[in-house]
Amino acid sequence: MTRYFEVLQSDGAARIGEMILKRKIQTPSIIDVSYFRDPENPIVDAGSLWNISPEDADANVKDLRTSTGDDTLIILPHQAIPPVILHENSDVNEMMPEDSGAYGCLYRGWTSDNIDLYIMEAAGAFDNNAKKFFEKIVEIRNTIPFDTALYAPAIALPENVAMLAYLGIDLMDSTKTILASYRDLYLTSEGMQYLDRLSEFPCRCSACNGADISDIVSMAGPDRQEFLKQHNLNVLEAEMAYVRERIREETLREYIEGQCRARPWLTALLRLSDRECSYAESNTQVVRSVEMIANTSESLTRPEVVRFADRVVDRYAPPLADVLVILPCSAKKPYSISPSHQQFIRALGKHRKYVNELILTSPLGIVPRELEIAYPAAHYDISVTGQWSADEFEWVSSRLYSYLCSNDYGSVVAHVDGPYRKICETVAQKLGIRIICTSNGNATSKESLSNLKGTVSSLLKDESVTGIKKTEEMLRSIADFQFGKGAGKMLLPDGAVIKGPYPKYQIYVDKSQVATLVPQYGMLALTLKGADLILPSNSYIVTIDDFIPRGSILSPGVIKADTRIRPMDEVIVQGPRIIGVGRALMGGKQMTQSTRGIAVDLRHVRKY
C-alpha cells in the first residue's frame, strides 16, 4: 500500500510508475544518490546506524520531515550489511515512522503500510550472480505490495537497466556509471571499454557528438572524467528512457531477448525468470496491441507462450470427433485465412465438420483450430529459415504428446511435411499409435490435397450424425480459454445464435446479445447478459465495495478479485448493488493489493 507511488502500466513484472514526490519521478528511473544528503531532493537519506545512534537517527528523521514536508521520501536510518552475513528481520522495526509522509527502508522481510519504497539491501553485491539476485527479487516482490516501489542500489549500468526493469525494479541509481567514468571506462548499452582502447566514439550523444577521441584521451584527468561522466550518464539515461518506452509499447520482452546477450549473467536472469514463469506471468497482460516476435530460443519459454500452452491443456476441450487432422502453421494469421489453410479447408470440404483440426507451430506448440484467433495464436511473427531447432522440436512434440494423451481419437491424420512430420512420427512412436500421413512432401500439392480428402473421407464412420457446429464450438472454446472450462457452455447454451461475418461474431441468447468476439485480440467481450450467464462459474469476478462505479474501478474499491485475472482480461464486476463488465487493467492479486490506480475499465454496469 502506498500513498506516494503509483503503478501506471505493467508489462509483465516491469512497470511504468510514478513517485508522487515534491518532484515527480517517472519510474523505472535512475536517481543520483549524491543528492540524498540534500533536503531539497525528493529523496533523502536519514543516515546510517553504523554512524549515528538510534536516538540521533530518530531525531534526524523527525527533523527531516519537519523541514522537507510530506512529499519528500525519507529513507529510514539503516544499518546495511552485505549478503554474506545472515541477519534477523528485527533491528529496523524500531525505526518505523509514526507520522505521515513518504518513507523508504531496507527490505528486511517485513512490510508496513507507511512504506512507499523498499530498498534491496546490497543489490550491488549480486552483480553477476543471476540465481541469488533473481531469488532475492522474487522474494521481495512477492512480499511487498504490488504498488510499492523497489530500489536496487549501486548495480545499474547501461547494459543491465533493461533487465533490472524487466524483473520489476523501479528505481536504480547512477552510482556505478559515475564511478566507471572515473576509471576511464566508456559505457554503452552493450558493455564497456577503456577509453584508450577506442578508435572512435561509437556514439552521437551530446558529449560525444563532434568530439575528437585523441583530444579527449589527452585531456587532464578531471576534464576527461567529466567528459566520460557526461557520456556515460547520457547512455544510462537514454537506455532507461528507451526501456520506459518499450514498457509503454509492451515490447520490453522482445527487447531484452536481444539485449540480455550483453552479459552472460543477464541471459541467465532471463532464463531463470522463464523457469520461474509464474513470477512474470502473474502480471503479464493476456493480450497486447503488438505482434509477438519469437526470435530466440527463449521465445519458447516466454510467459505468453507458456500460458497459451497451459490453457490449451487446462481449459480447452475439443468438440467431440473421431478423427484428428494435424496441419502445419502458416505465415498469414489467423491460419484459416491463409492460402494454404484455405486449400486444406476446401479439401476437407463437407467432412470437415466431423474432424478436429490441430495446427503445429513454433513457438506455441499446438493451436486447436477453435483457438487460432486467441492471443497470441494470430499475433506472432518468427524468423523463417525452414529448419527447426532441437528446442522447438522438443517443445512442439511435448505439446502434441500431451494433447494426444488426454484426447482419444479413432484416427489421427497428419497433413504435414518436414520437421512437422518428424514431430508427428516421434510422438506416434512414443505413444505407440498410428498417425496417417497424407502429404507427399508438399502439403498444398494436388496429390497431397486429394490424399487428405480421400483419407479423411474413408476414416469417417458415420457421417449421418450431426457434425460439429464449427463456429459455435470455436466461440465456446474461446470462452473456455478466457474464463475456464465450462464457460463456453454457459455463454453459448444450445440454441444460442451467432451473427456477423468471421471473425466479427456476436452471440445472442434469447434474442439478447451476450458477447462479441473482438477480432483484434481474439477475445470475447461480454454484455451484462453475458455476465449473468457465466456468473455462476464464479470466475474472473472482481468484487467491489458498496458503491456505484462509473467508467472505471479504482483499486482501493476492490474487495476481492479472482487471482487468475491478468491485465487486459475480460472481468465481471460485482458489488452489493451492481453488476458490471469490463476489462482488467491489473492482475487480480494486484487489484487487491494496490491503493492506487485503475483496476478495471468498466464497459457496462447495471444497478440492482
Binding site: 546510517s48 554474506v84 545472515l86 550491488g124 553485491a125 584527468g221
Partner: protein, 349 residues
C-alpha cells in the same frame, strides 16, 4: 544482527581452516624495523611469540583477524618461549639502541598464553639488555589490571614501558557489530588509566575500514576515534584493514563485498588528525599496500603513497602527505561521496 550471529559466522569460518604445524621453539615472526620513540627514529625489534593463541580469537573473535592461525597446535612451554625470545634477540645482535615490541597474536599479559614465569623471564631479560630503550607489549585491555601492571613495572624496573591495545575504534557499535572485538571503549579507558598512574604509556591501535563500513564512514570513524582517545593514548597507530586468510573479511572480499581502504583515506586521516593534534604521535604502517588484499590506490601510485605514509609516520611531517598526487584521487573522492549509499554492497573498484 546480533553479536552472537556475527561471532557464530566468524567461528564457522575459523573451523574450516587448517592450522599448519610449526616449531614451538621459534617465534611466529620477528624482524628489525624503525620506530619513532620520543621524537627520535630508532631501530626496533618486533617479536611475535607463538603461543596457544588469543583466547578471544579461538572462541570466534575479530572479523578481520587471521593471526589466530599463527598459534601453536600444542601450547609451547616456558622453555619454548625462552628459545623464541633468544632466537629473535639474535637478529638484533648488531643493533646499538632499540625498542622492543612484543606481540603474541593475542595478549602478552594473558597468562594462558604467556605464563607468569615466562613473562618474568622475558621482561627480566629485556631489562638487562642496556641497548633496549623501551619495551612495548600488546594486550587486550582486560589483562591490564593493577596486579599485572605492578608486576611488569617491578620487572622492567624503570625502563620505559608501554602497553599497546587494539582498540580499533572509539565506536562501541562498530567494535561490537562489525569487528566483534568483545570489549568496550570504557574497558580501554580503564586500562589506559591503570597504566598511566604507573607511568606506563598507552598506544592505541585503530583499524581503518572494518567490514560493512563505507570508505567515508571509515575515515570519519578514525578521525572521531583519534579525537576520542586523545586523552588516553600517547601514540596512535592506525592499521589499514587488509584481507587475512581465514577471516570474515576475506570471505566478504572474495565475494566482492569488501575492499581494503584506499591509501588516500589514510593520507586524509593523517593530515587531518595530525593537524588537529600536533602533540600526539600518529602513525600508520600500510602493510600489504598496493596488493589487492592490502590497502591500495591505483596501480600507478600505490607504492609512492604508501611510502609517503610510512615517511610521515617516522617524521610526523604533514608536508610529506601533500607531496603525493594521482588521477585516481578523483575516483576516491567520488567513492567517498557515493559509498555511503550503496546499502550493503560496498564499492569495490
Amino acid at each position: 544482527m546480533t553479536m552472537k550471529d556475527l561471532n557464530k559466522i566468524v567461528l564457522d569460518i575459523r573451523e574450516r581452516q587448517r592450522i599448519k604445524p610449526s616449531a614451538n621453539d621459534r617465534p611466529a615472526a620477528s624482524w628489525i624495523g624503525k620506530d619513532l620513540v620520543d621524537g627520535e627514529i630508532i631501530d626496533s625489534l618486533t617479536i611475535i611469540f607463538r603461543t596457544s593463541g588469543c583466547y578471544w580469537g579461538c572462541a570466534g573473535g575479530c572479523t578481520m583477524c587471521g593471526y589466530v592461525y599463527d598459534s601453536a597446535a600444542e601450547s609451547p612451554d616456558d622453555d619454548d618461549i625462552h628459545s623464541q625470545l633468544e632466537h629473535a634477540l639474535k637478529k638484533a645482535s648488531d643493533l646499538e639502541k632499540m625498542v622492543v615490541k612484543i606481540f603474541t597474536s593475542g595478549s602478552f599479559l594473558d597468562e594462558n598464553e604467556i605464563s607468569r614465569k615466562s613473562r618474568e623471564n622475558i621482561l627480566l631479560r629485556l631489562k638487562e639488555d642496556d641497548r633496549i630503550a623501551k619495551v612495548i607489549v600488546e594486550t587486550r585491555p582486560e589483562f591490564v589490571t593493577d596486579q599485572t601492571m605492578d608486576d611488569c613495572m617491578d620487572l622492567i624496573a624503570g625502563k620505559p614501558f608501554e602497553i599497546a591495545v587494539g582498540l580499533e575504534t572509539s565506536s562501541d557499535k562498530i567494535r561490537s557489530e562489525s569487528i566483534n572485538k568483545g570489549f568496550s571503549f570504557r574497558d580501554f579507558v580503564r586500562a589506559s588509566e591503570i597504566a598511566k598512574v604507573r607511568g606506563i604509556t598507552t598506544k592505541a591501535y585503530l583499524l581503518l575500514k572494518p567490514p560493512f563500513i563505507s570508505e567515508g564512514m571509515a575515515v570519519n570513524d578514525i578521525i572521531r576515534s583519534v579525537n576520542d582517545i586523545y586523552p588516553y593514548a600517547d601514540t596512535v597507530s592506525i592499521n589499514l584493514c587488509n584481507v587475512q586468510k581465514g577471516t570474515l573479511v576475506e570471505m566478504l572480499w572474495e565475494r566482492k563485498q569488501f575492499r581494503p581502504p584506499w591509501l588516500w583515506s589514510i593520507v586524509e586521516i593523517l593530515h587531518r588528525t595530525k593537524s588537529a593534534h600536533p602533540d600526539i604521535v600518529i602513525m600508520s604502517d600500510p602493510v600489504g599496500a598496493g596488493s589487492q588484499r592490502g590497502p591500495h590506490n591505483c596501480k600507478i601510485c600505490s607504492r609512492d603513497v604508501a611510502d609517503a605514509v610510512r615517511n610521515f609516520s617516522l617524521t610526523q611531517d604533514i608536508r610529506v602527505l601533500e607531496s603525493v598526487s594521482c588521477e585516481c584521487r578523483y575516483l576516491w573522492e567520488k567513492i567517498i561521496e557515493l559509498d555511503d549509499y550503496t546499502y550493503g554492497a560496498p564499492i569495490t573498484v
